[in-house]
Amino acid sequence: MNTLNLVVVSAGLGKPSSTRLLADRLAASTARQSGADRVEVQVIELRDLATGIAHNFVTGFPGAELRAAVGTVARADGVIAVTPIFSASYSGLFKSFFDVIDNDTLTGKPVLIAATGGTGRHSLALEHAVRPLFSYLRAVVVPTAVYAATDDWGSGGDAHTDELPARIDRAAGELAALMDRRPAVPKQAEAVVPFAEQLAALRV
């Protein structure tokens, strides 16, 4: 059976961060539900790429590290994208990463979206901000989006509440099922339209 590349994009800023914690839980559950040893998980911490992302905006090209991260996402069989909610939406860093990626990179890829925040009142940001972003990128977003407020982690600082683990497993199960059914990521080939066709299209 083929190995599946699961790529986690985390926009958490703290170290440790609850965003990364949620991302890791989602990745572990996805791997578990995909079958043992079938999933290879790679994590992209956007915090480490923050300067490179800003430089990409200024210069128009990605530096080596950012280029590698974008390549990792391009080769993914599935993506878990997790952001903290800032000012009622995804964080600027999270959006910026998906701004510098070519807008067809995620086309057809299964994506699980998740977010963290201080209060459950922001949970719908996943539906009104994060989901439309990935719809625009033509990703296949799983039905369950996971929001974890501070309360959800429980007083022990771990995922002992009943609800969050159940939601994590449901969303991860949906992602695992989509990745399982998806054909392998094709190698990207440089498509050239022969010049005669370009001329013919203009009837010149």
Binding site: H55, F57, F61
Partner: protein, 368 residues
């Protein structure tokens, strides 16, 4: 192989003095730079075309004609001529005229420009950028090769029995390069016609341009113009030199940090590491430029960007002295080493005219 400089014609404040040259000063400075390029032994001077501030070069053939009158040897070219928004009929006329006045020392580079709003200023639509580049050039190509042209396309009024005058000098159209930063369609276009392909090569890492140039070379061979190694490739480059490397870095840093294109982004060190920009001694420039051949194969034309980001004229002229005296002679010698005999030299009117005459003689011989 040909070596030269290309300019964008920007009016940029000097960040070290805060002074902005007037348009008039900048235009005269560009002429002084072109004359200096000939004086120090460079082969090519190329100028951009822009129709908005802070650029001054809206009328390239006027500028190049003025320079042609004061030079003897240097090839006058463009970087680029907007094939999308200029009427191809006017390009055909202007550059044929310039070619006559300059005794053939003229070629040009087609480009689509980088400024969206310029399209509507000339009655065009940016969404049609690539189709415009393809159709307009198809017409230009015919206007220089057929004495009488009937034409109907999507983007301009039809032509019936139209003759573009003057006819190209010696019946040989100016050599054409196609410049592109990101479009494989343009590499394909250059390959189709057997024209040159120029990779600006300055702002992005080489991996990106390698892909475009390899595509161009492969398709050049596909269309039967020669082998992939014989395709005509030009590259940009960007350098700032002082005899002592540290002096170059210290002097150029404020210009780099405030440069309109990449300023306020990565550090000078990061940028020189990732792109072809070289800031250092003439020897460092030689080494980095020679390495281009390893990435892109033997090529025909190397143009350097020398006069941007607000560098004062005096500094630019000093740079050209270093380039002409210390860098280019070594590059000529080193690039000639191990260069296969079948790899063509940079295109000149004389060579194209000789080939044209030989082909005509052969055609006459076989029909007799």
């Amino acid at each position: 192989m040909q070596f030269g400089i290309f300019t964008v014609g920007d009016v940029t404040p000097d960040p070290t003095s805060g002074r902005t040259p007037s348009e008039h000063e900048r235009i005269k400075a560009m002429v002084a730079i072109a004359l200096k390029a000939e004086e120090v032994g460079l082969d090519v001077f190329a100028t951009g075309e822009h129709h908005n501030p802070p650029f001054v070069l809206s009328s390239p053939t006027t500028m190049l004609g003025f320079i042609a009158a004061q030079t003897e040897r240097i090839i006058l070219s463009t970087s680029t001529t907007l094939i999308t928004t200029n009427d191809p009929v006017k390009i055909a006329e202007d550059f044929a005229m310039l070619q006559h006045l300059a005794q053939g020392r003229v070629d040009l580079m087609m480009g689509r420009g980088n400024t969206g709003p310029v399209y509507p200023w000339f009655g065009q639509d940016i969404r049609q950028g690539i189709p415009l580049a393809i159709e307009n050039y198809a017409l230009l190509h015919r206007l220089w090769r057929e004495d009488v042209v009937d034409w109907e396309g999507r983007f301009r009024t039809p032509l019936q029995s139209f003759t573009s005058t003057p006819r190209p000098l010696d019946g040989v159209p100016p050599f054409v390069w196609h410049g592109s930063i990101r479009s494989p369609e343009i590499a394909e276009q250059a390959a189709y016609y057997g024209d040159g392909f120029f990779a600006n090569n300055i702002f992005w890492p080489k991996e990106h341009f390698k892909k475009l140039i390899n595509l161009y070379r492969e398709r050049y061979a596909h269309y039967g113009h020669g082998t992939a190694e014989q395709a005509v490739v030009g590259l940009g480059g960007q350098v700032f030199m002082r005899r002592n490397s540290q002096d170059a870095v210290r002097e150029f840093r404020p210009y780099f940090d405030n440069a309109p294109v990449y300023g306020h982004g990565p550090s000078l060190e990061e940028f020189t590491d990732q792109t072809p920009l070289t800031v250092g001694s003439p020897q460092e420039v030689i080494e980095k430029t020679l390495a281009f051949r390893e990435s892109f194969g033997d090529y025909q034309r190397q143009l350097f960007l020398m006069d941007h980001a607000g560098l004062p004229l005096k500094t630019v002229l000093e740079q050209l002295d270093l380039l002409g005296e210390e860098v280019v002679p070594v590059l000529r010698e080193e690039f000639a080493k191990g260069r296969p005999a079948e790899v063509p030299d940079g295109p000149t009117h004389e060579a194209l005219a000789a080939r044209h005459a030989a082909e005509a003689a052969q055609a006459a011989g076989t029909t007799v």
